[in-house]
Amino acid sequence: MDLLGFARGPALKVALAIFCLGVAWRIVGFALLRLRRDLNEPRASILKYLSGGFVAVGSRSWPHKEFIGRTGPGEALGYSYHIGLFAVVLLFTPHIVFLGGLLGVMWPGLPSSLITVISVVTVTLFLAVLFRRVTNPVMRMLSNFDDYFSWFITALVMATGLAATAHIGARYETLLGLHVLSVDVLLVWFPFGKLMHAFYIFPSRAINGALLARKGAIS
């Protein structure tokens, strides 16, 4: 069995199994955590309590006007590379075929040449994000192995994908094998690192928003 066959065959199956196990573990564990009982009388109706959660998901996804000068550039950078990442993952035809084979549905993709341009821009943004993390003293202090490895494995997937497309460094099938193998590693790491924010980000914002709304605060 060659590298590509291994990467998208047994390695991918094992990675998928670990991914499913890990994600279910983390989500169920998170969902069943006990919340401390709030003995205060609610200051909002149950409707506002619940709607506060939805409002928080939206309001916290956008920089607050008072801090926009300080946090805006960082958030713009974050949004940009996330959008690029989504475009490459979800709108590149070989990826659609892969996901289509898994999910049973297909959707239209973008031209491959456009995806290549988006990939180059996204990789550049990835480098900018890393630069910001290591040059900003506060962020550097807040960062740990999880942050850097999560960045590394995501960037590696992007870089190997680009290298395979451009035939840089090795034969296409070798690069494609490395690309799929890096996806396998990402799938294994995903549930146990900060990449899990993909699942947690909106529920955690909603819960915080709802709890604040219960206390009468506006998210």
Binding site: C20, G29, A31, R34, T93, V97, G101, L102, S112, Y172
Partner: protein, 368 residues
């Protein structure tokens, strides 16, 4: 040795009515196709004209004769065909008039007379199961014949995927315990001209370069001449612009297929297949499988028969056909592991609650 066998290549070509100009044109075209420098065309012609016709022993083992058919069905009369005729083909059990003991005697004589100089061409995989009994000729197994013939060969040219990589006989479950030539012979230069079958011009071009230069051409990691196997079919495919534009045929009879759009989603293996199909094409440059509306099946790559369905897109090969629900096995793995994960999650939440409860209890107990 007959008078015909003693003629040089140049003399033989003259006898067939090929002019010097025509011969140089052919050599130049061949050198160009093999990405050799321009001066190599005339050098090749000069070398070939004065070269004695090299002895070639062609052994056919566990194969379907498709490779030989490919070579002999080159559109006649072609200069490639004539060049092939100018090689002293001393043994080929498919083509030669002699049979039985006479044929085997011809092989033995050619190998003895040209020991250390003849080119051994092998077509078909080599079965080793049941002491080689799955493929015998003249009472001898293929593996024994190969070992004997390889001893006196200057080089071995493996024609077709079966001899190069084992091919279909080598595919799972490999009932005859078949192997490629490279697994049996380790001490001779081996040139693999893979394909199921290979392109005729690739076979003759490879032989021609070896005969004219006396050197093994630049080979890739699978011992294939880079001149013909240096690029993927995808990179040279005339449908590549449609891939870049994101235009794909979804079925073999939809509008995309009629418009000649990319066949990636229909399982084309062009992106991972190295061959000259998209440039040299077949039947005198008439067409090639993709041009005829069918995706490449990757027949010139090792293990092509065991790499999933020909009709599954490359990136979905592990899952099944694109657009369909993942195979039951994958869904079972996902559901099963998610269920285990859920149980683990519930257990860890339970442990967390117990700890919280314990610490709260402790605080309560410690309260004065």
């Amino acid at each position: 040795m007959t008078e015909t066998e003693q003629l040089t290549v140049g003399e033989m070509l003259l006898r067939h009515g090929i002019s010097r100009r025509g011969f140089i044109k052919f050599c130049t075209a061949t050198a160009s196709a093999m990405a050799l420098p321009p001066w190599m065309g005339s050098a090749m012609a000069e070398q070939l004209r004065n070269a004695a016709r090299p002895s070639v022993v062609y052994l056919s083992f566990q194969e379907c004769t498709g490779c030989f058919e490919s070579m002999t069905r080159s559109f006649a009369p072609t200069i490639e065909n004539l060049i092939f005729n100018t090689i002293s083909l001393d043994y080929s059990d498919t083509l030669m008039a002699a049979s039985g003991e006479a044929a085997e005697a011809a092989r033995a004589k050619a190998m003895q007379d040209n020991f250390g100089k003849y080119v051994l061409v092998v077509d078909g995989s080599v079965p080793t199961g049941a002491a080689g009994a799955y493929c015998t000729a003249g009472g001898r197994s293929a593996v024994d014949t190969l070992r004997e013939a390889a001893k006196g060969a200057t080089a071995i040219v493996c024609v077709g995927t079966c001899s190069a990589f084992g091919g279909i006989p080598f595919a799972d479950p490999n009932p005859t315990d078949a192997w490629p030539v490279s697994a049996i012979v380790g001490d001779k230069p081996i040139i693999n001209v893979s394909g199921c079958p290979p392109i005729p011009e690739v076979i003759t071009g490879t032989l021609l370069q070896f005969v004219s230069t006396g050197q093994v051409p630049d080979l890739d990691e699978h011992r294939r001449p880079k001149a013909f196997f240096g690029n993927t079919i995808h990179d040279r495919c005339y449908r590549r612009p449609f891939y870049d534009q994101g235009k794909f045929a979804k079925t073999f009879d939809d509008e995309g297929a009629r418009n000649g759009w990319c066949l990636y989603e229909l399982g084309c293996k062009g992106p991972t297949t190295y061959n000259a199909c998209a440039t040299l094409k077949w039947n005198g440059g008439t067409s090639f499988p993709i041009e005829s509306g069918h995706g490449c099946i990757g027949c010139s790559e090792p293990g092509f028969w065991d790499k999933g369905s020909f009709y599954s897109a490359l990136s979905s090969a592990a899952w099944g056909k694109a657009g369909e629900v993942a195979p039951r096995q994958i869904l079972e793995i996902a559901a099963g592991t998610a269920a285990v994960g859920g149980v683990l999650g519930a257990a860890s939440a339970g442990v967390s609650r117990l700890r919280q409860h314990g610490s709260e209890q402790q605080r309560t107990d410690n309260t004065p």
